[in-house]
């Protein structure tokens, strides 16, 4: 018996939330138990791997026997024994728990380039990365090709900044390259702080070496010898994996002096920020590293010319750097051809909200939103109707059904009123209130506004007040127009990207869902029955059995009734918490 068995447990953030660590320890304990240990010894090993993508099915476990992969879904610690007994010992996979055909469909329309290693190997193990061709691109960049050629390759690949704005990465590098300076910096922006996005975190946790490799290549190209990875201290596992990766690179001579014996020096440090959304903006981010308040400053120069401590600094997103090794290794035209004109390669998204298959996805540019939602995402949960898709987090916008044929492309998305942003796709269904969602994003940007420039500080506050008024049923005639006017001024006059994009969620929802705003303002109704002040709860007396469950959960004692006789809600006492609605087994409570 000389089977080689690998057990890979997803411990990406989704996996951990579903109990991945417990599943991993269950496997490890089971493996070290006497019988298995004796029979298989070192040939059977359990590994933690990064995000496998299909987070809705977590915890996902791959069992690879001599290269043959079987994937289990929804694994719980108590399932581990049976998997080991039947699959590993007897060689018969536990058919009930193995993923079905829909698992394949999820990946069918995806093209995993940046994510190719994520979820396949132990992200902290540098030897596996090296074995799979890691750092080959770095060797090529350091030894075989000149900096000019690296820059030309990146330019010709049409790789655009994956942080949201989509500035061509090659151009940025070229600017920095052209400036003569002994000190230059390379900074990786991993300050992902938008609600609803986790793709950078998944990469930092799942593929830290690819990011580091991309950064060293960039440093070589522009002539920098010092760099920072900027991540949030609160993201403990990203920070831990990155730090381990940096330490191991130093040990292997991949960072520090004379990298790979090619005479190039590069030092990389991890900077743990204290978390503020505005710090994702390049100037604010650089000020934080300098030990100042994370406030943006006017961009008279681009950071590539005058950045950290006034030195030329290339700031790129995590995903941008992680794309670099592949481009250098396989060439510009390979990457460019993955995408469409002016948009090379692939884009990683965090697909969340009301779709069946939530998770981390990577698609080619040119894939339509419809394909993403219905083919990859598997459609809407519970057979409800699709209402809108929100792209790009608090800086992005909502799109309605009629724009579902828009393709993933920086320009097409911008012309539809959203931005690519950092890659959050949130799907909303008929039960979600568009106005409330827009208010939620505005609340976020208003709270995160650093307060430096007036349009953003005061403007977002005024807009939020109007939104609050509308959702509270006190909307006035002309409010919608006022929102539009304010929004345009804020966009035109704010200092940094935060302010310039803050009105997007409101403006785009007005554009596509004006009727819902009108229903709130004029009809004083919330069509999706979400906005508290605009809904009432009533008990349908012909359905109510008088079981009393609603009475017991009501925190305001607003429900009265005698057992087995229909109950009633006192509208004066009801705080509209919705507890009764959730608990009623007979669907006797009407929310409208």
């Amino acid at each position: 018996m000389n089977k080689r068995i690998e057990i890979k447990v997803c411990t990406g953030i989704g996996g951990v939330a579903a109990g991945g660590e417990e599943v991993f320890s269950a496997f490890r304990d089971a493996l070290s138990s006497a019988g298995i240990e004796a029979a298989y010894g070192e040939r059977c090993s359990a590994h933690r791997v990064g995000c496998k993508g299909f987070c809705a099915r977590d915890v996902l476990v791959d069992i690879v026997i001599n290269g043959d992969k079987t994937t289990y879904q929804y694994v719980k610690p108590e399932m581990v024994d049976r998997i080991i007994r039947e699959h590993i010992v007897d060689g018969n996979p536990v058919a009930d728990w193995v993923v079905g055909d829909d698992y394949e469909q999820y990946y069918e329309k995806q093209q995993r380039v940046v994510l190719s290693g994520c979820g396949e190997a132990d992200p902290e193990d540098i030897d596996i990365y090296l074995k799979n061709g890691g750092f080959d691109a770095l060797r090529k960049a350091l030894v075989e090709i000149a900096p000019e050629e690296i820059i030309a390759t990146v330019k010709n690949s049409y790789l655009r900044g994956r942080g949201g704005a989509g500035f061509p990465a090659g151009l940025k590098w070229e600017r920095s390259f052209r400036i003569k300076s002994d000190v230059k910096y390379v900074v990786c922006n991993g300050d992902e702080g938008d609600p609803g996005t986790f793709k950078d975190r998944a990469l930092m946790e799942g593929e830290p070496y690819a990011i580091i490799e991309g950064m060293i290549i960039c440093a070589k190209a522009v002539g920098s010898h010092s760099g920072y990875i900027y991540s949030r201290g609160a993201y403990t596992s990203s920070v831990r994996h990155l730090q381990t990766a940096i330490d191991k690179c130093y040990k292997k001579g991949l960072l520090g002096r004379d990298i790979l014996g090619a005479g190039f020096d590069f030092d990389l440090r991890l900077f743990k920020s204290a978390g503020a959304f505005v710090c994702g903006e390049a100037t604010a981010l650089l000020h934080t590293i300098e030990g100042k308040r994370g406030m943006p400053t006017p961009k008279f120069w681009s950071a590539a010319e005058k950045g950290l401590w006034d030195m030329p600094t290339v700031v790129n997103n995590v995903e941008t750097f992680a794309s670099i090794p592949g481009i250098i290794l396989k060439g510009a035209s390979w990457y460019k051809n993955l995408g469409i004109e002016n948009n090379g390669g692939t884009k990683v998204f965090a697909l969340t909200g009301k779709v069946k298959n939530t998770g981390l996805i990577e698609v080619r540019f040119g894939t339509s939103l419809r394909e993403i939602i219905f083919d990859i995402g598997g459609g809407i949960e519970g057979g409800r109707r699709f209402k809108a898709i929100h792209i790009g987090g608090p800086s992005g916008g909502c799109m309605s059904e009629e724009s579902l044929d828009i393709e993933i492309d920086y320009e097409q998305i911008a012309s539809a009123g959203a931005i690519m942003g950092s890659g959050g796709l949130i799907v909303l269904d008929e039960n979600d209130c568009i106005v409330n969602t827009a208010k939620f994003f505005l609340e976020f940007t208003q709270a995160e506004s650093c307060g430096k420039c007036t349009p953003c500080r005061v403007g977002t506050k005024r807009m939020l007040e109007i939104m609050e008024r509308i959702t509270a049923g006190e909307g006035r005639e002309g409010d919608i127009e006022l929102l539009e006017e304010l929004g345009h001024y804020i966009k035109a006059t704010s200092l940094c990207g935060l302010g310039m994009t803050a009105p997007n969620p409101v403006l785009s929802t007005i554009r596509y869902f004006r009727h819902e705003y009108e229903a709130h303002v004029q009809g004083k109704k919330c069509p999706a029955a979400v906005c508290k002040s605009l809904i009432t709860f009533t008990i349908l007396e012909d359905i109510c059995k008088g079981c009393g469950s609603c009475k017991r959960v009501c925190p305001a004692d607003a429900i009265r009734g005698i057992r087995k006789i229909p109950h009633r809600i006192d509208p004066g006492l009801c705080i509209k918490c919705g507890s009764c609605f959730e608990v009623c087994k007979f669907k006797a409570i009407l929310k409208a």
Binding site: P195, A234, A276, F440
Partner: protein, 159 residues
């Protein structure tokens, strides 16, 4: 959490071990907060002297970042994710009900007995498991108020 009279001693050690560069201000405060659970005013003054940076500037940095606390926090930290996906799945209600359950008055975040602090976070990145709550940094997905109440009860009874 360390005793109060130890603050100065611990700080001295901490300052000696971390380099005295201005770029370390944020990491210095991060380790102070890790040790004490919050940033004591004493500590700010001490850092100010050590780094020759006015205390006002330090306060401006501390108050800028939501991660830093100037007031003592509870023994257990419950962090409710307020990301978009969690919002869509009802995190706002979850947050309100925890605050009511723990009896935390408006505009406060800590219980009177310093057992619990309730915080918000913009997104923990486990959107597919929404709504998400972190209990002492342990990620708990698909959270309902009842499960959370049970977990809080367990912590209360000292498990």
């Amino acid at each position: 959490m360390k005793e109060r009279n130890n603050i100065e001693e611990t700080l001295q050690d901490m300052m000696n071990s971390s380099a005295k560069e201005r770029e370390n201000i944020i990491s210095v405060f991060q380790s102070i907060q890790e040790t004490f659970g919050y940033i004591p005013e004493k500590a700010v003054n001490l850092v100010s002297i050590r780094l020759s940076v006015p205390a006002s500037r330090l306060f401006s940095i501390i108050t800028f970042f939501p991660q830093f606390h100037l007031k003592p926090t509870g023994e257990n930290i419950i962090t409710v994710c307020r990301g978009a996906a969690c919002h869509v799945k009802g995190s706002e209600r979850l947050l309100n009900r925890i605050l009511i359950e723990l009896g935390i008055p408006p505009s406060e975040d800590t219980t009177e007995d310093f057992k619990f602090t309730v915080e918000k976070v913009n997104c923990v990145g486990a959107c597919s498991m929404s709504p998400v709550v972190l209990i002492n940094n342990e990620v708990c997905g698909k959270m309902t108020f009842n499960t959370l109440k049970k977990k809080i009860g367990k912590i209360r009874s000292g498990e």
